[in-house]
């Protein structure tokens, strides 16, 4: 609009002229004045002027922000000795809820837009005569047994042997986010753009040079200090459950932060967000990965059982088809899992955590499973080209069957590892019984459904009398088994709603509230799909077996089995989505939301 003005802006910046020389401005008016002022506005010459004054005034004697008696009193006089470590100490009587610590953490550490490693929650309670509102500043507790570190499959966490600080190695992290599930305090935060997790390191670089951490520096009320604590004391405190009202059980990770207050806490003190039930992150790649790995393992096992129970082999065309299908789903699952990693190119680092991380173990176990399954499927494909007699004479079939059971064992082991990943978090909705039963039932249900898919494909591609024979023989049992597993699983899942009747706000009640409230459409879809694929379709198949010959109703058969498989799979995918989204996560007391 004012091309001349832009030229002048450039000139101003380059020449750094003092703003608005009065003699000139006096005579200017109209367009000239406008251009002059637009240019002035873009000039930062005052910066030099002010910083010069400031420099003159304070020079090298400028009072340091970071080295003052005030800060020294908030830092330990001596470093920790053996059996001790650094820890945050929060004086709740001095925490007024201004939240300067949060913003200083963000600013002084150069973090992104809304990132900060500290948060402030609020506890409410007390009586009419003595109401209590207690703000609580909280960051990483630098635990004695950090769940993040134990969970990490790539050893991206280290607990410093001298200071006890739990440090995250950003470049080692591959972004699996398992630590974000494992930490009961919701401390590690995933940075999607970087593809890694990051967290508080107690400003270890500042402590190393005797400076106070950002939050300690910035608290106007000196509520946060760094102290040396003895590890024994931390354990004793955790045993006595002395930590903070409304906070997760300290026995899980042995947090070292001390919350002190001269006032006794009233018994009814609750976090301001206590009644808020928050939908959790869905982790879609994990949803797909879990459902499909379980399908794959289940399908292999069901295939093997079929052969064993009804003797001999499945029909010529069905056998390789089913092995292929089972393998394909397994590989698809593993591919999906890669999408969960922020930096999948470092997936190989997962082997590092084998000694402590269930995620490492899961990855290795599924690697083994995939390897064996590929070999098994390959062997079945290979053997289907050989003459049966010749193969029998070589004992190939026994060998292949052995391999098959190897696949099943590896798969079962891998599913066990999958389950343990969640069990490790000690969330009530992810207890061993809940997770393992869920995963095993899914494997059984989808294993059977997958066999129906294979049968369908074989019936369409290479319909034979032998195939029909197999279907006639096994079909009703497969249908009944599927209906049994489905009915059991659906009823068991419905059972969570009994928690709605209870008064207490238990984690399971939170899950039930989420399922019945915010997530109700997904819940409905889950049960509709489960009933359709696991009960209705197998029931229709059963009636088809009883009434009409299969070949006469191929279209009907195809539609029924197709729907059976898709609904079962979709139902389990939604179920797994809810497994994540509705699992109430523990966390430190939050603020008003």
């Amino acid at each position: 609009m004012y091309p001349t003005a832009i030229g002048m802006i450039e000139l101003e910046v380059l020449t750094n002229r003092p703003a608005c020389a009065s003699a000139e401005a006096k005579s200017l008016s109209g367009f000239d004045l406008l251009n002059r002022l637009l240019a002035d506005q873009q000039s930062l010459s005052a910066v030099d002027q002010f910083s010069n004054w400031h420099g003159e005034q304070s020079g090298p004697q400028v009072e340091s922000r970071v080295d003052t008696p005030r800060y020294r009193s908030l830092l330990p006089a001596t470093p920790p000795e053996a059996g001790q470590q650094y820890a945050f100490e929060v004086d709740l009587d001095r925490c007024s809820g201004c939240k300067a610590c949060v913003v200083a953490c963000h600013t002084l550490n150069g973090l992104d837009e809304s990132e900060a490693w500290r948060d402030v929650g609020l506890l409410l309670g007390g009586s009419r005569a003595a109401p209590v509102m207690q703000h609580v500043t909280t960051a990483c507790h630098h635990c004695l047994e950090p769940a993040c570190m134990i969970a990490c499959p790539v050893n991206a966490y280290e607990k410093d042997s001298a200071t006890g600080i739990v440090k995250h190695l950003d470049d080692q992290c591959f972004g699996c986010q398992y630590c974000t599930l494992a930490c009961p305090y919701d401390v590690p935060k995933y940075h999607a753009d970087k593809g890694i997790v990051q967290k508080c390191d107690m400003c270890s670089s500042r402590l190393a040079v005797g400076e106070a951490p950002a939050c300690v520096q910035a608290c106007p009320h000196e509520a946060i200090a760094i102290r040396v604590v003895s590890r024994e004391q931390v354990i004793d405190d955790a045993e006595a459950a002395v930590f903070l009202p409304g906070a997760p059980d300290p026995q899980i990770t042995l947090p070292t932060t001390t919350y002190k207050s001269r006032r006794p806490f009233p018994r009814n003190l609750l976090p301001a967000d206590y009644f808020r039930v928050n939908q959790q992150h869905a982790h879609w790649p994990l949803v797909v990965m879990l459902a499909l790995t379980q399908l794959s393992v289940g399908a292999f096992v069901v295939g093997l059982l079929l052969e064993r129970l009804w003797g001999g082999h499945m029909e010529e065309s069905l056998r390789p088809l089913h092995a292929g299908n089972s393998l394909a789903f397994g590989l698809l699952a593993l591919a999906a899992s890669l999408f969960h990693l922020g930096r999948p190119r470092y997936a190989y680092r997962a082997v590092l955590g084998l000694r402590h991380s269930w995620l490492s173990r899961e990855i290795v176990a599924f690697g083994l499973f995939a390897g064996l399954a590929t070999a098994y499927a390959g062997a079945i494909f290979g053997s289907s080209y050989l003459s049966l007699e010749w193969a029998k004479s070589l004992g190939v079939s026994t060998w292949i069957e052995g391999l098959g059971w190897g696949v099943a064992m590896a798969g079962a082991g891998a599913i066990f590892c999958s389950a343990m990943i969640y069990v490790f978090t000690r969330r009530e909705c992810w207890s061993f019984a809940r997770v393992s039963l869920r995963f095993v039932l899914t494997a059984a249900l989808l294993g059977i459904a997958a066999l129906w898919l294979s049968i369908l494909m074989a019936s369409v591609m290479t319909p034979t009398a032998q195939l029909e024979e197999v279907v006639r023989k096994c079909g009703p049992t497969l249908c009944r088994a599927l209906m049994g597993v489905s009915l059991f699983k659906l009823l068991w899942e419905v059972a969570i709603f009994r928690h709605l009747l209870f008064q207490r706000m238990t984690p399971l009640r939170r899950s039930a509230l989420l399922l019945a409230g915010e997530l109700s459409s997904a819940t409905l879809a889950r049960f509709a799909l489960g009933a359709l694929g696991g009960l209705l379709m197998p029931a229709m198949l059963l009636s088809q077996f009883q009434s009409t010959p299969v070949d006469s109703g191929i279209v009907r058969f195809a539609v029924t089995t197709g729907l059976l498989f898709s609904a079962c799979l979709a139902g389990e995918l939604v179920e797994r989505y809810l497994f994540f989204a509705a699992c109430a996560a523990p966390r430190m007391p939050g603020g008003i939301r």
Binding site: M1, A19, C20, S22, F31, L33, L37, L38, Q41, Q42, L44, V47, F50, S51, H54, Q57, S58, E63, S64, R65, V66, D67, T68, S96, C98, K99, V102, V103, H106, T107, G110, E113, S114, V120, S127, R128, P131, V132, M133, Q134, H135, N155, L169, D170, D171, Q172, I196, C203, V209, E211, A218, P220, H221, A272, R276, R345, Y346, Y348, L352, R593
Partner: protein, 740 residues
């Protein structure tokens, strides 16, 4: 972000790295030592210079060192040796720079077109439209038919420019500031009691008191950096908080008096009566330095302990204990904020507090005082230099001597100076309703959100022939209703001075370029003066520094004399300077208080006792509207109508995203609701829905709404203090039901 491509070891020929302790991601967050005493600083954000600048939110007046690198403001740290904040800042201050980069910054003038849409235009069009329309209205309806609404958020030099330009240059008669909403009461109370609008204290008083009395103030949240001074008090002070609601501040108090809403005036009269009755007063001080005590003693005679206990719903013991604490204290300081200022009998309540300080001799000594804590960063600048209620420099429009003095300093014809003060804010709005005011110029404030009884306020604004909004953001509720939007540079993008609560002048620095064609308010005034044809009158007003020299001249001989301050450089070097500081005075101490000699600003040198009977709530609860609605500040991360604080993603994390209402557990049980449930709250003027926050902190039959959410003022009742004309935001009657 660095990717594997940048690093040879990750190329195809090298082996995969199994363990990587250090790398680009670690380096991104690496800290390195910096000069300037700010300690370790993110390596990529190392400053080349620090430029100090007084914060642009509240009146505490913290000083922030802006980190400048390659002519860019890259960060900030609070100044360690500034006597106000001692190296600290609240979340708003820390995030000051972030909010300047918001996408809804106004970057060009916007003019409402024929289709009713705001459309970008050049400054030339904007300026000529402003002049044409405003002059047109004045030609038809008289000079007073155009008015302005200003702010406590711009620098003093700009305030003075605006006031002088509008009144002396453009011939407007009426203009007021949003300071009417926060400080008017303190102004009038001080003026009447002390003879000048003069908060007597210095922040060190917080550290020196042995009894600290906070009235209607949630200092922890509203002024966290002042709370720091309370926490540093080494005398284990008695902290007494008078507030109907439990807050962060009452939690830290030794006595909390949850008086019934707006029963505080009766409470203080009751306390005065007890002090008098027991002889707990400073007779020599009263005799020597005050007038009107006997009449006042008569007035409070009827405020017996029982009567006051009944009115305040406090126990007689609690009231007695309060009075005893005042008596026993050697250095008692009284502090008040909006709980006092925003009420139907605000001035008298503030004066009741002043009276307590006077009668116990708690003034003019360290750790004492009747101290109003200001709201906005430059409310004090506005009080002295906005040229609205007072003539520039704390002068009186009605006084011919004052007019002559100002005219001489400004080298203008004394006849151009109006002989009466402006209408207050609500009278200007009433003027619009009556058709007396038809053109309005709103600068850096957001009445469509902040004014009391919002629906009516908006309706009034919509009746204007021509509404001009000058603001940093085009998205404010008021800018959205404007006919013309003038894009303004914000704090950090321009220079000038602020005056904080303790009368300290501090320098605001220009450290950032304004976006697009946004201009400093100062420059906009220069352009409008030129376009209006009165450029000649303001030829000396060519930079903030030059105007500062004019302001000094205007202050000469006034209680707020600042003629001893040479320039910005001196202000910066001395860590700010409190007024008064007349030319020829001794080297200013960093912390000074007023009335150390017992001399007040009335002609007789005495302070006046003022008071009148307390009045009941203007809108008491009824059967239909059984709750009293309290309003106030929500969190330290929110500022007023949130035009700025809502622009920081980090600050947004620190306050509730949805409007919430605090409600007592007893009432919650009655309504069968829990924290998080939706409530519908209705007054006679409007209704809203808010999430319940159940807490015993609010009393039964009272609810509290934070003021930062736009819906809150749908409910408030347009009642004003008769002296200060400040809106009574703090109490009205509402109905509370379950939503849906």
């Amino acid at each position: 972000m660095t990717t594997s491509l940048d690093r040879p070891r990750n190329s195809l020929v090298s082996l995969p790295v199994l363990f990587e302790r250090h790398g680009p991601l670690t380096e991104e967050l690496l800290l390195s030592p910096s000069k300037f005493g700010i300690g370790l600083t993110p390596t990529g954000l190392q400053p080349q210079a620090l430029v100090p600048s007084v914060c642009g939110y509240c009146s505490t007046g913290c000083n922030l060192n802006i980190h400048v690198r390659e002519q860019q403001a890259v960060g900030l740290t609070p100044v360690a040796d500034y006597p106000v904040n001692l190296g600290m800042a609240c979340p708003k201050g820390w995030e000051s720079l972030t909010v300047l980069d918001a996408p809804d910054r106004a970057t060009t003038p916007l003019l409402r077109n024929a289709a009713g849409v705001l459309e970008p235009v050049g400054w030339d069009v904007a300026l000529s439209t402003f002049v044409e329309r405003m002059k047109g209205i004045q030609a038809k309806h008289g000079p007073a038919s155009v008015a302005f609404l200003s702010t406590g958020q711009i620098v003093t030099e700009e305030m003075a420019f605006l006031g002088a330009l509008a009144k002396f240059g453009m011939g407007m008669l009426h203009g007021d500031g949003n300071t009417r909403q926060c400080m008017a009461t303190a102004v009038v109370a001080y003026k009447q009691s002390f003879g000048f609008d003069a908060p007597p204290y210095t922040y060190a008083d917080f550290e020196e008191s042995d009894v600290i009395i906070l009235v209607g103030s949630n200092l922890c949240i509203a002024h966290p950096i002042l709370w720091q001074r309370v926490m540093r008090n080494p005398h284990r002070p008695e902290i007494i908080v008078v507030d109907p609601r439990a807050t962060e501040t009452t939690m830290a108090a030794t006595q909390h008096l949850p008086a019934y809403p707006k029963s505080d005036l009766a409470l203080f009269y009751g306390i005065a009566r007890i002090l008098i009755e027991r002889g707990w007063i400073d007779r020599p001080f009263l005799d020597e330095h005050t007038t009107g005590f006997e009449e006042f003693a008569q007035l409070v005679e009827s405020y017996t302990l029982d009567a006051v206990a009944a009115q305040t719903r406090l126990s007689p013991e609690a009231i007695l204990r309060f009075a005893e604490s005042i008596h026993q204290g050697k250095r008692v300081s009284f502090w008040w904020t909006m709980g006092v200022n925003q009420s139907h009998q605000a001035v008298r309540t503030a004066q009741a507090i002043i009276n307590l300080a006077l009668m116990t001799g708690n003034i003019g000594r360290p750790g004492t005082g009747a101290n109003s804590i200001t709201g906005q960063c430059n409310a004090m600048g506005s009080r002295l230099f906005s040229n609205t209620t007072n003539l520039l420099g704390g002068h009186d429009f009605a006084n011919p001597e004052h007019r002559r003095k100002v005219a001489t300093v400004l080298e203008i014809d004394p006849e151009t100076i109006p002989q009466e003060a402006s209408w207050p804010y609500h009278r200007i709005l009433e003027g619009i309703l009556r058709g007396e005011v038809r053109g309005l110029w709103v600068i850096a404030t957001n009445p469509a959100h902040s004014w009391i009884n919002q629906r009516t306020a908006r309706d009034i604004l919509d009746r204007l022939d021509f509404l001009v909004v000058q603001d940093m953001y085009h998205s404010t509720e008021t800018a959205q209703r404007a006919d013309l939007v003038l894009p303004a540079a914000g704090w950090g993008e321009k220079a000038g001075t602020f005056i904080n609560s303790e009368r300290r002048l501090g320098v605001v620095s220009k450290v950032k370029r304004a976006p697009g064609q946004a201009l400093a308010d100062f420059h906009i005034f220069q352009l409008l003066a030129d376009a209006w044809g009165c450029g000649e009158m303001f030829r000396r007003w060519n930079s903030p520094e030059a105007v500062f020299q004019i302001l000094k001249e205007l202050s000469a001989g006034q209680p707020c004399d600042i003629t001893g301050i040479e320039d910005y450089r001196m202000l910066t070097a001395r860590g700010g300077i409190q007024w008064p500081f007349a030319a020829g005075s001794d080297e200013p101490e960093q912390e000074r208080r007023l009335f150390t000699d017992g001399k007040f600003f009335h002609a007789d040198g005495r302070a006046k006792f003022l008071g009148e009977s307390s009045r009941p709530l203007p809108e008491p609860p009824t059967e239909k509207y059984p709750f009293v609605l309290l309003t106030g500040r929500g969190s330290a991360a929110q500022w007023h109508t949130q035009t700025r604080t809502a622009k920081s993603a980090l600050l947004r994390k620190l306050y509730p995203s949805e409007l919430y209402v605090e409600i007592n557990p007893h009432d919650a049980t009655q309504l069968a609701i829990r924290t998080g449930d939706l409530l519908r709250i209705a007054s006679r003027r409007g209704e809203l829905s808010a999430r319940a926050l159940v807490t015993p902190g609010v009393q039964r039959n009272q609810v509290f709404l934070p003021m930062h959410y736009v819906a809150t003022n749908l409910l408030t009742d347009a009642v004003f203090d008769p002296y200060s004309h400040q809106p009574a935001y703090k109490a009205c009657a509402v109905e509370v039901t379950r939503a849906g």
